[in-house]
Point group: C2
């Protein structure tokens, strides 16, 4: 427990922010750099769901490198968008294992983690507690 | 309080599930219909983040119809993916207002809502409690 792991980094671009938001979160401060200047954010910011999606991508890539078999998630708790994410920001995602347990009936394990994304200034922009399921290697299997 | 509102519906397609997941959640049960058949889900399912993104799209469109001015969100609590979302599922999103309050210092209001997406069989597939900020019309303004 308490083990913290850096999952990876991603630099967010303006076209990427606009593309995601145009499809899934079409609010002016996510889709229109010009209109965004007149909002409380003072410029274009990424949809919070986009930040979550970037975090997920980095998590999946990290699991793949470790040959861990993710098998879904029942959900997340307390997902907080703490700072705006702006074009050019480089996000780094780290995860801390809070708790693990094995299913009694299925060959899966549960891992509860605190996942945080921080920007190039070290500011945490996203913080969530997620629950992931992993496939377990059965004893005696290849 | 306790007011429940249907925000809209969306039918999820296989290409849409694969496109989202290829970019943001590249796990076989989200990206590869063939490989998905061999997983515990027995077929392709949407990324939970994709379901959230669809929910957000319907929320933004609903707010626009009501001429409500969304101004961002500090986060969500207890986001649960309760049932798999499969190609062809029609999701309907409803929201129940749990709590509202006004900022003391800024012309914004806060609304805490329980948001649920259910499928064409009436099964809840996504349930979350979100906090949204809305612009308030100032007294005396146009």
């Amino acid at each position: 427990m308490g083990e913290t792991d850096v999952l990876g980094s991603h630099t967010v671009t303006e076209p990427e922010i606009v593309a995601f938001a145009t499809k899934y979160d079409p609010q002016p401060f996510h889709t229109d750099p010009e209109a965004a200047r007149g909002t409380i954010f003072g410029g274009l910011i990424a949809s919070g769901w986009h930040t979550c999606a970037i975090m997920m991508r980095l998590s999946v890539e990290s699991a793949r490198r470790k040959q861990a078999v993710l098998t879904g998630s029942p959900g997340v708790a307390s997902c907080r968008w703490l700072k705006p994410v702006r074009p050019g920001d480089t996000l780094t995602v780290r995860a801390e294992v809070l708790e693990t347990w094995a299913s009694r009936s299925k060959p899966i394990g549960f891992v509860r983690s605190r996942v945080e994304a921080f920007n190039q200034r070290g500011e945490i922009v996203l913080s969530l507690v997620g629950l992931s399921m992993y496939g377990r290697r059965q004893e005696g299997s290849a």
